[in-house]
Symmetry: C2
Subunit: 186 residues, 2 copies
DNA sequence: ACCTGAACACCGTTCAAGT
DNA sequence: ACCTGAACACCGTTCAAGT
């Protein structure tokens, strides 16, 4: 509804998540975001290039949560697992977050994002190629998993057959454990 | 452009994929699909409930490709790997297919889809819980991976650093190998 | 049964104009 | 610098009406 504060990127981002939670991605429109802020839709264009950029900013939120967590672990295995768990938790706090991630197009050239993403893993002993490849696999798994988890029909059904937390973690550990096994023989 | 043949679900599906390839998911509209068929947009509603159902039908296409491949393998590990590879190949043949999969909502109640999805794996020795959990993980990984692979900016950059085929396969084998390791100790 | 034409309530985005 | 009002070219969907 009509609001105060001042209009900037972070206020718009917050309002966008509010609309997302209420309406889902289908219902996320700049007009509703503007209304949430007590402002007219074209006003948003002063702070944000277009809707695509807004969605990318929303998606970046989850990458940031993941990026903080990757610092915590000791081994590269721990880092991969912690960053994936953090990403999933951050995503589960928002409706349709997986759809947002998949619709988003990277903000910075991936060329600048990659080093920051992989540096902690390289410090922990991986080559930069391994770090990139493993991170890509873990992120893909996490986003894909949350997509299913957030699909209403899937959720209603699967929730009584499998434990989402446990199954996600099983798959994650399996993958990360498998990375290690790949290096040192069978 | 103006076309002939007769209008039915499969013709609409084909036209939708044509529009998808040309315009991407953002540009996929019922009006363009109708134009592709030489027909007016409301005509589509006789054959398809709405746009959401059309997108779900498109997504089902990839599940079918995967469902055929799962029959081929001998062990459950082989079946998981073959079905994932087939799904990825089918998806890579279409633009924005990962976005389509993530936006789609399941057609049949997941309750009917699940047995068909897991039966071959149960035959190969898994419990139905394991089959469901492992399949979910593998599908999540595959769809998530293709999402990154189809993201233009990601692709342009990563393509010169990692081999998509090899990295996907590495992650897939790692996960499936890890499933086995999870059962029998360490 | 199957399709058209016209309409409704929305979109994202642009742009002159205000302050 | 920052926002409004009005407009443009689109959407998905409904529904009477045609055949």
């Amino acid at each position: 509804m009509g609001a105060s504060a001042k209009l900037d990127r972070s206020a718009i981002l917050e309002a966008a998540f509010e609309v997302l939670n209420q309406e889902g991605l289908e219902g996320l429109s700049l007009r509703l975001v503007a209304e949430q802020l007590g402002v007219q839709a074209p006003a948003l264009y002063w702070h944000v290039r277009n809707k695509a950029e807004l969605i990318s900013l929303m998606a970046a939120t989850f990458a940031e949560a993941s990026g903080r967590a990757v610092l915590a672990g000791r081994t590269w295995q721990d880092k991969l697992i912690l960053s994936a768990q953090a990403r999933r938790q951050a995503m589960l706090a928002r409706r349709d977050s997986a759809r947002v991630c998949v619709m988003a197009q990277p903000l910075r050239s991936a060329a600048e994002a990659a080093p920051q993403l992989t540096a902690p893993l390289v410090t922990a002993g991986l080559t930069s190629r391994q770090a990139l490849s493993y991170q890509a696999a873990v992120i893909a798994y996490t986003v894909g998993w949350v997509a299913y988890e957030q699909s209403q029909a899937m959720h209603d059904f699967l929730t009584q057959l499998i434990d989402f937390d446990a199954s996600f973690t099983t798959g994650l550990h399996a993958m990360v454990r498998g990375f290690g096994a790949g290096e040192s023989g069978s």
